[in-house]
């Protein structure tokens, strides 16, 4: 087993340019090799994978129906505390619902809404920012004034208006949150594009005869990887909380459905009597954001050849010292 692994590794290493038919396969293997070198990145990826699996398999994993109430068992503490019951590991909430089951089911909406909003707002904002920054002139003026107007308009008010008119479903929730979140991406991207347009290698690409789209995607966009990944991570956490705020106002996730944000908001009223109501879904949010952060910083390093070389040089020095 170990032998086949290492021969496969050397083969992939020896032919990085000629393996075109197996490009995807090699790319996946390359990612696996990269992850072995970055312990924190691997850790983050693992947690994230577990979270995604939990969200997908929620009905199979959760011990109870997340909406099943049992007022006789309300506000039970976690099983290891005095008065806790082994039937409810993480206790119950003010309506006697199982906290563990609710957290497992809440992962679905929270992850889905978070990822969808970041993807939608990120794509929209990035495209507009690229157009504004690269082509400048009138396109720049129009797009950036639209950003200013949108920023000046209170986000919550806009969300309230839209969600009282249309039915609050996860789909509309995503659109409303994305409509309030794309501006930061547009501004960030425009700024990075403006500065990297000045860089000599972009000028060199233009003189060589690259078309504008190639200049954008090949030479400008890679500079955006790390700031965008960082921003998207921060935004994800913000979105989870924004979704919680809307759910708290009754305009987000509709009971009996649940989300981490909704549970944090509801548990807030019992924070002195039943701390676990806020802590458990709150920890889930924190864990998600932490793992995304770890993965993000790994992506940032893995996509920059200079950073990679630094890290490999450090790794070589460490292994030499160990030997």
């Amino acid at each position: 087993m170990a032998m086949t692994k290492s021969t496969a590794g050397t083969l992939a290493h020896a032919a990085p340019l000629h393996g075109r038919p197996h490009e995807l396969f090699n790319a996946l293997r390359g990612i696996a090799r990269e992850l072995r070198a970055d312990k924190l990145g691997a850790f983050g990826t693992m947690i994230l994978l577990v979270l995604v699996i939990v969200a997908i398999a929620a009905p199979a994993l959760a011990p109870y129906d997340p909406a099943a109430q049992s007022l006789a068992d309300r506000l039970l503490p976690p099983a290891w505390l005095a008065g806790g019951s082994p039937a409810h590991w993480l206790g119950t909430d003010h309506l006697g619902r199982d906290v563990l089951s609710r957290t497992i089911h809440g992962a679905r909406v929270s992850l889905l809404v978070g990822v969808a909003v970041v993807a939608l707002a990120g794509t929209f904002g990035t495209v507009l920012g690229l157009v504004a920054g690269y082509f400048g002139g009138r396109a720049d003026t129009i797009i950036m004034r639209a950003v200013d107007i949108q920023v000046a308009f209170p986000a919550l008010l806009l969300a309230l208006i839209i969600l009282t008119v249309v039915k609050p479903t996860p789909g509309t929730l995503v659109i409303v949150l994305a409509a309030n979140g794309w501006m930061v991406y547009a501004r960030l991207v425009r700024g990075v594009v403006l500065s990297s347009r000045q860089s000599l290698y972009v000028e060199a690409a233009e003189i060589v005869g690259c078309r504008p789209l190639r200049v954008i995607f090949r030479h400008v966009l890679p500079n955006l990887t790390s700031p965008l990944v960082t921003l998207a991570t921060l935004e994800f956490a913000r979105i989870v909380l924004a979704e919680a705020a809307l759910s708290f106002l009754g305009l987000g996730v509709q009971p009996p459905a649940t989300s981490w944000g909704l549970d944090v908001a509801a548990g807030k009223n019992y924070i002195f009597d039943a701390w676990w109501l806020v802590t458990v879904p709150g920890t889930a949010i924190a864990l998600t954001v932490l793992s995304i952060n770890l993965v993000a910083s790994w992506i940032r390093i893995a996509t920059d050849p200079r950073e990679r070389q630094k890290r490999f040089a450090r790794g070589a020095a460490v292994s030499e010292m160990g030997a």
């Binding site: 000599l200 060589v208 005869g209």
Partner: protein
């Protein structure tokens, strides 16, 4: 070295080129717009296989001239001809096709190579974007280009940061050569390099010229570098050409006092001669292009300036055959 100026048609011809910038600033709320003339009424021709050295201090407009010829600057007047064709207004797809014949070597070999691309991707990019070679088909071509500039084939899979300044400049040269251009603008191509590396790159450029019949516009602020590679030399001062002649004529019989001052600043590797030479030290600064002096632009720093120099700009005219200068006294 006399060029076949009378028998061959020029490859690149610049006729009365002027470049104006609109500088905002001054005035209340920065609304006042002052036009700045970075280059004024510059004319010269470059012949196939020839190097024209363009010399001047920073702010003289030499880089602006090079960028205007490459059509990187839009606000120009005058005409630029390439093989007799007017390219002054060329843009879009036609400009992209022109890039196959006109290329550039940059001053900074660190900033002009995308750090995220391998040498193979960098040198193959011109081939790819012009549809000449794609994917693996580009590899032999890139290998031969690297061999041409003295880099090993193994360099292909590496990234620019793994190379020294001189090696990086070789990568930049390989990229410029990929399209087999006829004309290359080398904008301070060796200024950022160590003196020892400089000679190597200058020799490489000369070597490539002989092999590929390239024409260069070699922009530099250092006459000693230009002397080695140029067939003819043009001197710029404050946005205008002050002298243009064969290399030997410039060094033996400089006509313009500014050229004489530049020549006197070159060190000669013989202490006895060096001690006997009279160094012409210019006082003052190059005038601001926003407020150029009246008459001859050099009169503020010229030891021989007369009332006529202060009142009237001297024409840029042929003083002896093939030797142009703009000075009333010459």
């Amino acid at each position: 070295m006399t060029m076949m100026t009378t028998t061959t048609a020029p490859l690149v011809e610049v006729q009365n080129l002027s470049v104006h910038y609109a500088a905002r600033g001054g005035g209340w709320l920065g609304r006042r717009i002052r036009p700045i003339t970075a280059v004024e009424d510059v004319s010269f021709a470059i012949f196939p296989g020839e190097t024209l050295g363009l010399v001047g201090e920073s702010g003289s407009g030499k880089s602006t001239t090079g960028r205007a010829i490459l059509r990187r600057i839009d606000s120009i007047t005058g005409r630029i001809l390439f093989r007799g064709r007017d390219i002054t207004q060329v843009r879009g797809e036609a400009l992209r096709r022109l890039r196959r014949h006109v290329q550039m070597i940059f001053q900074d070999p660190y900033a002009s190579l995308n750090p995220r691309m391998t040498v193979l991707e960098l040198v193959a990019e011109p081939l790819v974007v012009h549809g000449l070679a794609r994917g693996e088909a580009a590899e032999p071509r890139v290998a031969s280009l690297l061999a041409l500039v003295g880099l090993p084939e193994s360099a292909m899979e590496r990234y620019p940061h793994e190379f020294s300044g001189g090696q990086r400049q070789r990568i930049g040269i390989a990229r410029a050569l990929a399209l087999e251009p006829d004309f290359i603008v080398a904008d301070e191509a060796v200024s950022a390099l160590d003196v020892s590396i400089r000679a190597q790159i200058v020799n490489l450029l000369g070597d490539l010229q002989a092999r590929l019949n390239l024409a260069y516009l070699f922009i530099a602020h250092d006459l000693s570098v230009v002397r080695h590679i140029s067939h003819r030399i043009a001197i710029m001062y404050a946005g205008k050409l002050v002298e243009l002649a064969d290399r030997d004529a410039i060094f033996r019989q400089p006509l313009h006092p500014y050229t004489r001052a530049l020549l006197s600043a070159i060190l000669i590797p013989d202490p006895q001669i060096q001690q006997q030479r009279r160094r012409i030290v210019l006082t003052g600064e190059i005038p601001s292009p926003a407020a150029p002096p009246s008459g001859c632009r050099f009169h503020t720093r010229c030891a021989h300036a007369t009332a006529k120099c202060r009142a009237e700009a001297p024409p840029f005219e042929e003083k002896t055959p093939g030797h142009f200068a703009a000075c009333w006294a010459a």
